[in-house]
Symmetry: D2
């Protein structure tokens, strides 16, 4: 961390800052005094220093972080890829996972039917929403606990581990048999929820928020990991920009950026990011070739009659085709 | 709602859609059939129709909403300004409220001192954070229940109603004596929380999310109001854009836009939107002249030693000056 | 185009609008009159109707475009992929082009050396900047005409067609021997330049502006094409968002979106979009798999001493590796 | 400027960098060597150092600019407000200018009529577009030279100085009698145009681009000023964000931010920023109270029949009312 002091900084305030850095924070300081400005280079573990607090000081011109503010999620301190294990499935470190299923769980027949179908097409896990965050209070809000029960039935029938979203801390008990707990984009900075999930031993699929930076995504992972749960899978699902031809904007470069900054697995959601089923194939192929560790794709047996997000769901037939395509691109990725 | 069908839409699917609109939704249809496309105009209360579901239909080219998807918050159905009463204070409909206080409650002395000071300078309510959403798990997270207790002491001393943020549903009991419950930007789409707040009778200060549209802000207000609690105060605190010279970008036009679309009071947060105390005065004056119903401003007796957000807090002396300036601009607003 | 009139629209104004639509615009109208609103469906070629002008009318509630406002660039009117021919090179319709070279042309040795190297690695065209748009007036602004001369020397030596950027209409004469004229992101809406390029017979590589939508990119292509020059190559190079870990945000979905809306070839610029050479490989692979028709990549023999944009340039060795990888992904694309 | 070197930076490369900084750039270096990293503080005038070139060096971890990259526009080197004089009108340093007129010049009667009307209502200058940048090649593109002639007639009739937009360098001769040359948002980074305008002695009204930062706006001003023309008026007209209820998003804080960073006058365009005439009043008042040096407002005698942008133009009657309101807010601004 580099602190540039204002010209002619008050000596007494400066002494106080120095004492705070050395005493309270336990860091060393490298000094660089010029005619016009004094630069302090802080040496030691600055990941937990509150940059806002330092910036607020009257004598400080600017503060620049050199070290990232996250540790557990940081590849610098954990150079090898993390591999997250879910039942027989692995994600990360060369293991690629296809996660498929409907936006919302509707009926046992629907979810079991889709589960069988996507399994036959090569899916490794089943997704399905039981609790649905909906913009309108008048829209279908999910089956709740019943939805989880149906997912567990589908798991029993197919053996596929299940991924489903938690919306509220008080529901946590209902997720006891769920394999991967998803934190949706709107909850990426629900810090109380993240903290609590950090005390469980379940893999967490953490989606990036619509207005959140890569750095903030990693800080949210850090919330979970600092509680002791290191099984975090990061998921990019598009950010919000001025472009309206797709529901969100899927940043392709986020894959190499995250791979550089963290050891956690990175998966891509082509369905929510584009919002249109007809773009899912192209985006799935692109994300695979760019080096993603997996994809989470919405598949519905009858998209036109889906209870939510039918517009972005593909059919089981389309998933079968895309799944085969993904495998071919993965072969190239592995060969390079 | 206007539905444009694709050319040569399948007749059977069309009949099914027609039956759904007339039967399930109870709406009338106006037909406009051309050579190339058929346009359906839906007549009746379409505010609760799920636009995504209709868009997902194979035969549908596009769907356009004419009627807004919110009713309770909609000025069309409630032309007069809502006035929210908090103790002796009123907001909206010509009543302007100055809300001031520190980012975080720190000690009884701090919060009581600031409360007395801002009251003397004309503040109508006291703000202060007990539960703090912080990006880093290593940053100060607020005093929690103790913070609320200190706020209540400050209220007892000064008579100022208090505004403080709820982060999690399970904490709701702790807010029994709080006057206005704030929902922060990160929780604007925490729908479970919104629903529960809709069953209380407390005024809710609802902040716009960093990536949320005006329409979504109103849908979140609708969540609260559809539960029966119509006491919602909307708060703009800046959205996230590419500009980095301020913490967020404060959309000035949001004031007339919200005033047109809703009858709810609209307040502005110059502190979070700019992130720098030196811009607070100018933004406060601008928001007042543009017609805001109030301002919520961070004031700290010792910004350099604030436990959070010191960079954007102004001193009590600065607040006193700004408060007087606001009053002068309000006089003009009222005179026009 | 659908026009929704306000309730109780003035009869006289309505007659005037009707006359304008039928008379001046030569369109038919389908009427749908309800109790609360009247909907007009405009039938005919509405691509040239000024939506802003209609929206300005006092009696109009809203206007929705069904038909796109571009014709020449529209796939609906030109279902087959356009193939652009540049010397022996083809782009589009299954032909993939690798364009490589330095950000700025510096010396004959530099550009000839890089040209030979990238040709050996499989590049189809040579890029290089002679006129450089730079944010700072104090930064290197390119060699100008001399830069074009050096490019032409490199072309003579290697046979590679050359692509270089025009910044100003008055320079057009200097581009007489250039194979492909590039319009940079900052000039995407320099309409006078676009119009003039529409009167030439040279292929134009049109880059998307940092704040421009897909629809606007296509309108800018339309400017060129409406002048008679249909040889437009679209290039995505990232848009500006709040994310700062890359220079710009590269929207992966733009590839299938553009492929759906237009018949023009679509190429991707991994160098400018990410701004960091270490992300170029991953993005190149992703764009190839997603179906791009080509890539334009910055390659410099000595990135550390490049006169501009060294940070995002890869070495000839890195290009060689990436070029081979691209070929492998292309094989899969073709096989699917 | 602070350069952080990578751990274990190559000694030879380091020596080369050192020689470059001291020799070529003529700067001093302050060293701060730690175990893990070496920090170089560059001392001297770094405003013209190419940050990208330094960042590209293999041994460099990060570069942070302390000093702004603009000098002529920088308030640090020019603490007093600049006052720009246009005929009898002054802008900046306490002088407030109301600029009003139609989007496009249409007929002599129209422009003279509006000029007389807005003058009577207190406007200080007349705006009107002769060359119009339009997204569609099929839309009205302005009267060109004839439009300027009509503006000059209106000037002769009313004495109001005229402001009109230049789109292309080759038209510069046509602007010989124009009082203020406007550079539109799309041309904010048309560097060749800016450079040429820097050699004239005419005041330039420079609009911020839709995707450009405040820092970039100031760099574009620097382009003009570095050529010798210091008469630059900055104009904010909204940036592009995800919000669609207004045409663009008008950043209120840009007023105090620009006032802090530069001595140049700052005016606001409520018409283009909102895109709707009904929001112009509120935004005008807000911008005035926030400390703008002027406003540029679209006024049309018959908005419904305007040849462009009628939706955002207000009537002369509305301008009269708003002009009076602005004066009242200005009185408060001056009194504070």
């Amino acid at each position: 961390m580099i602190i540039v002091l204002k010209p002619n900084a008050d000596e007494q305030k400066y002494k106080k800052l120095e004492a705070f850095i050395k005493g309270d924070l336990g860091l060393d300081i490298h000094y660089s005094r010029g005619e016009k400005s004094t630069i302090l280079g802080l040496v030691g573990d600055t990941s937990k220093v509150d940059i806002d607090a330092v910036s607020a000081l009257d004598i400080v011109e600017s503060v620049t972080r050199i070290q990232e503010p996250y540790k557990a999620a940081n590849r610098k301190f954990h150079p090898m890829d993390s591999v997250i294990t879910v039942g027989d499935v692995k994600i990360g470190g060369g293991h690629f996972a296809k996660i498929a299923g409907p936006c919302s769980v509707e009926t046992p027949e629907q979810i079991i039917g889709i589960a069988k179908s996507v399994k036959a097409s090569g899916a490794h896990m089943l997704r399905g929403g039981a609790f649905k965050p909906r913009t309108s209070p008048y829209a279908f809000q999910g089956l709740g606990k019943t939805g989880i029960d149906y997912l567990l039935e589908a798991k029993k029938e197919t053996g596929l581990p299940i991924v489903t979203e938690i919306m509220e801390l008080t529901d946590l008990d209902l997720f006891a048999d769920v394999d991967v707990i998803q934190v949706g984009a709107r909850n990426m900075q629900n810090f109380r929820l993240l903290k609590e999930l950090g005390t469980t031993d379940k893999p967490i699929l953490l989606k990036r928020g619509l207005a959140n930076t890569v750095a903030e995504l990693l800080m949210s992972a850090e919330y979970i990991m600092s509680g002791g749960n290191e099984k975090v899978i990061l998921c990019e699902r598009g950010i919000r920009t001025f472009e309206t031809s797709t529901r969100n904007t899927l940043d392709l470069a986020v894959i190499p950026v995250l791979k550089e900054k963290t050891h956690l697995p990175v998966i891509i959601d082509p369905s929510h990011s584009t919002g249109h089923s007809r773009y899912v194939k192209s985006v799935s192929y692109g994300a695979t070739a760019a080096g993603a560790d997996g994809l989470i794709i919405e598949v519905h047996n009858d998209p036109e009659n889906a209870w939510s997000d039918g517009q972005q769901s593909i059919t089981p037939e389309a998933f079968d085709e895309i799944s085969k395509g993904i495998d071919k691109f993965r072969e190239v990725v592995i060969s390079l």
